[in-house]
């Protein structure tokens, strides 16, 4: 339900509520790119996207929200100022989030209607005398390992990075070297110890912003901000600090010597930056719900000032336990398999279809093959446009984002091949214009470079941006008939990745028109024999291979090789010693799909 502000709904507040309800900003879970991939346009429905939960009024849930992401979403929800509401589209509101105010299926018209409904709800209920406090439950994910690790994980899950104790470097359990001065830390340490061993997982209640502003005077509740989250951070970061090889060392405790502590002595254990200065390094999470990055990508940067020294990825941020769902009857397998990646569902459906088709008793079905090509290329064009839209958000280029989204909508809505052909000149103009804008090239050239990387270990447009001739389509006779050659560039940086994807988008439109089909007919799975099958396709992110074994009409084992696992290896290379925004550009240029990383 709508979480309202505390207060009696007087007439001026009602008026204010009506105004409030017309200006709804939404924070999209898991990310705007998932909303676009589902065919939704929140902006057109009246919800402008927010870059931070503090500026958002609505939490928009789209597609599938896995449990660990739901925990992160709960933290995000807790940070939103009231009145706040949850709008679930095509999904329901999973625990620990409170129930959704409005739930609709995933269609644009339904979204528009839902927004109207939400406006009405908000206008009525923005103020309420009974306050239902939402406690974001910091229940750690299911593994019962050490609480320190849990703390680290939930901290990594939270969108918002709060520096404990206000010290720029003091976040990470850096207990000050002087004994006897750290009274607040003793308290925290005790409380941390107390909460480090929860009686059972899921009981970390932490009391959120129960404070309300009454006429500018802040109530005393906000003073008790010594919260459990903070203790867990303390625990988390001490344990993180003790991890060997972390590179992020504690300050050693020194005995209190007459009150004078030289800075040289205090900093001698700190890691040194390349310019020789000992600074405290911050670990800042950029994910899993960071706007601009793919939703579900739980990235953590170790920052030396505003330069990245280390980047790491938490892979279980979108754990869904899909592997268990894949085994089962053959007939529904492509649909079940397509759940893997909401950003490229059709690509994986085609992959499953091709793998099953390889096991069929009959000869190759040319119609199916052509339509698979059509679907695949459509998915590729849509995926690249979606990627371009979120890339433009990161770059702050409004025009680019607006054009990418409008092209995306038009392509998605194109009912047949002729309308796609009509889109071609518009796409051409767009791509030419983007490539010819010097500011964009200046912004991206040399950023996120991976020059010396071994292209044999890379996949997809990333490999091709480094000159690697790696494309699963080159071996396909049908593609060969269409005169397909892979698009190669040699810059091995963000600009080359952009160029490759733009060129591939153009190429995909041509291939779609040549293939003459936009949707694949259902595979007749009755002819699938028992045994093993294998297929390789070029998904929008790279080559993906699927090995299947079927016995007794049921899929037994599924072995998938996804491109993002390979491109992920470049993470350290593209971010090392880059400024934060350049590092983010580098990461987004890799076009990693966190959904693919979860198996």
């Amino acid at each position: 339900m709508l979480e309202a502000r505390r207060g009696r709904p007087t007439w001026e507040r009602r008026l204010l509520a009506r105004l409030l309800s017309h200006h709804l900003t939404a924070f999209v879970i898991p990310g705007l790119e998932v909303a676009h991939a589902c065919g939704l346009d929140p902006e057109a429905a009246g919800l402008s996207p927010a870059a931070t939960p503090r500026h958002a009024a609505v939490l928009l849930l789209v597609g599938e929200v896995p449990p660990s992401l739901a925990h992160a979403a709960a933290v995000v929800y807790a940070q939103m100022p009231r009145p706040r509401a949850i709008l679930a589209v095509g999904t329901d509101s999973p625990p620990p989030l409170p129930g959704a105010s409005v739930t609709v299926p995933a269609m644009q018209e339904d979204l528009v209607a839902a927004v109207q409904q939400l406006r009405a709800v908000m206008a009525r209920n923005a103020w309420s005398t009974e306050l239902s406090a939402f406690d974001a439950d910091h229940a750690p994910p299911s593994d019962g390992a050490s609480p320190g690790k849990h703390g680290a994980q939930t901290e990594a899950n939270s969108h918002d990075m709060h520096l404990d104790r206000g010290t720029a470097g003091g976040v990470h359990g850096q207990t000050p070297p002087l004994e006897g001065v750290d009274k607040p830390h003793h308290d925290q340490a005790e409380m941390a110890a107390g909460h480090a061993m929860p009686p059972e997982p899921g009981t970390h209640q932490h009391h959120h912003h129960l404070m309300e502003e009454h006429g500018g005077h802040v109530q005393p509740q906000e003073v008790d901000h010594v919260r459990h989250e903070q203790e867990m951070d303390h625990v988390a970061h001490t344990s993180a600090g003790e991890d060997p090889g972390d590179g992020h060392k504690h300050l050693h405790h020194r005995e209190h010597e007459g009150g004078f502590m030289s800075m040289v002595m205090m900093t001698q254990d700190l890691p040194r930056s390349p310019d020789g200065l000992p600074m405290e390094w911050l670990e800042v999470p950029f994910g899993p719900l960071f706007p601009g990055l793919p939703g579900g990508l739980a990235l953590t940067f170790t920052l030396d000032g505003d330069t990245v020294t280390r980047a790491s990825l938490t892979q279980s941020a979108v754990a869904r336990g899909l592997a268990a769902t894949w085994s089962g009857p053959v007939s529904g397998f492509p649909t079940r398999f397509a759940r893997l990646d909401p950003l490229a569902g059709d690509a994986y459906r085609v992959l499953a279809v091709r793998a099953l088709e390889a096991m069929r008793a009959t000869t190759v079905d040319r119609t199916l093959a052509w339509s698979c090509i059509g679907v695949m290329e459509r998915q590729r064009a849509l995926s690249h446009l979606t990627w371009l839209a979120s890339f433009a958000w990161l770059l702050g280029d409004r025009w680019l984002r607006a054009r990418a989204i409008s092209l995306l909508q038009r392509l998605r809505g194109a009912p047949d091949v002729d309308s796609v052909a009509r889109l071609r000149p518009g796409v051409d103009r767009f791509v030419d214009r983007v490539r010819s804008m010097p500011p964009l090239r200046w912004r991206l050239q040399g950023v996120g470079g991976f020059e010396g990387a071994d292209t044999a270990r890379l996949r997809g447009p990333v490999a091709r941006a480094a000159g690697g001739d790696e494309d699963a389509r080159t071996g396909d006779p049908l593609y060969h008939d269409l005169g397909f050659t892979p698009v190669l560039r040699h810059g091995a940086d963000a600009w080359s990745c952009l160029e490759v994807r733009l060129a591939e988008m153009r190429q995909s439109l041509d291939l779609m028109v040549a293939a003459g089909a936009l949707s694949a007919p259902d595979l007749d799975t009755s002819m699938v024999r028992d045994g093993t099958g294998m297929a390789t396709v070029e998904t929008p992110r790279g080559r993906s291979t699927l090995h299947l074994t079927v016995s007794g009409g049921l899929v037994q084992t599924v072995d998938l090789d996804a491109p993002s696992t390979y491109n992920m290896e470049l993470l350290q290379t593209v971010t090392f010693q880059q400024e934060v925004s350049d590092a983010l550009v580098g990461v987004v240029s890799l076009d990693l799909s966190p959904w693919e990383l979860d198996r």
Binding site: L16, A51, H162, H209, G305, G396, D397, P439, R443
Partner: protein
């Protein structure tokens, strides 16, 4: 009189908001900023845990004060100026320096990493724009033989400075966009930093910050008008009208320019401003000096 001018400043800021709305959404909606502002006041004002409370609370009013102060010395019409200082042109800079103080406070205060990085980025941006904001004003003051803003406008009666000192005009325009952290120079409030320094503010404080930013844009547009476009000078129509029209036109161009460009990289910004911008500003001063000496003779 002073009250009227203050109200006029607020009205001007409102019009800038309307223009910004038009640039972003493509539709001209006159009531939208007012309604959005009131709606913002209706939302809860949250305070992060463990902020530096003093700095957190001081930053929004300080930004607003700096913006209004920098506007105060710029004339609307001959004799119509809020504060008539003999060092008016310099005072504009003094007030704009507090923009940086406010942004750094807003970065540090909320105790959040993204905001802090945004504050640091603005420092780099300051190092880039601070010379380019001052040096063109030097050339303008040279022509006017005075730092008084009304004298600067009067000195443009034969020819506006935008035509007489085009290099200075271009540099000042770009530096003004950087001071107001408008796209493509919106480094401190970047969308890739979850709205940076503004990201942790909600409710009334956010409303003050947004208002402050609008007044800042207005003030810089007025500064461009006064220093380079001849302020109130113009045929037929009343002087105040000319100032207002020119200011809004400059604000529209500033807001429009950022729509098509990606955000600059901070290292590029620094490089271009120090390796290209400052030499050009020096050339501008040199050029103006020579022409003045030659013309005076």
């Amino acid at each position: 009189m002073n009250l009227w001018l203050l109200l006029l400043i607020l009205a001007g800021a409102y019009l800038v908001a309307v223009i910004e709305n038009w640039v972003v959404t493509g539709r001209l909606r006159l009531l939208a900023p007012l309604l959005a502002g009131i709606a913002l006041l209706g939302r809860e004002s949250l305070v992060p845990r463990l902020p530096d409370r003093l700095l957190f609370e001081t930053a929004p009013p300080l930004l607003l004060a700096a913006a209004i102060l920098s506007m105060a010395v710029l004339p609307l019409a001959p004799g119509t100026v809020l504060v008539d200082l003999a060092t008016g042109a310099l005072f504009v800079n003094a007030a704009l320096a507090y923009v940086m103080v406010a942004v750094v406070m807003a970065g540090w205060g909320p105790d959040a990493a993204y905001a802090m990085i945004g504050g640091w980025r603005f420092l780099g941006q300051l190092v880039a724009y601070s010379m380019l904001i001052v040096m063109p004003i030097t050339a303008v003051a040279m022509r006017a033989q005075s730092l008084v803003t009304t004298a600067i406008v009067s000195s443009q009666a034969p020819l506006p400075n935008a035509v007489a000192q085009p290099l200075g005009f271009l540099l000042f325009f770009l530096a003004a966009m950087a001071v107001a952290f408008l796209p493509p120079f919106d480094l401190p409030t970047a969308s890739d930093l979850a709205d940076g320094v503004f990201g942790e503010y909600t409710g009334a404080r956010l409303a003050i910050l947004r208002l402050a930013r609008l007044v800042l844009v207005l003030s810089l547009a007025t500064a461009v008008t006064v220093f380079y476009l001849g302020g109130w000078l113009g045929p037929l129509l009343p002087p105040a009208f000319w100032t207002i029209v020119k200011t809004l036109a400059v604000a529209a161009v500033m807001l429009l320019g950022g729509r098509y460009l990606p955000r600059t990289r901070s290292d590029h910004l620094l490089e271009w401003s120090w390796k290209l911008g400052i030499p050009l500003a020096l050339v501008n001063i040199f050029w103006v000096g020579i022409t003045l000496l030659v013309v005076q003779r």
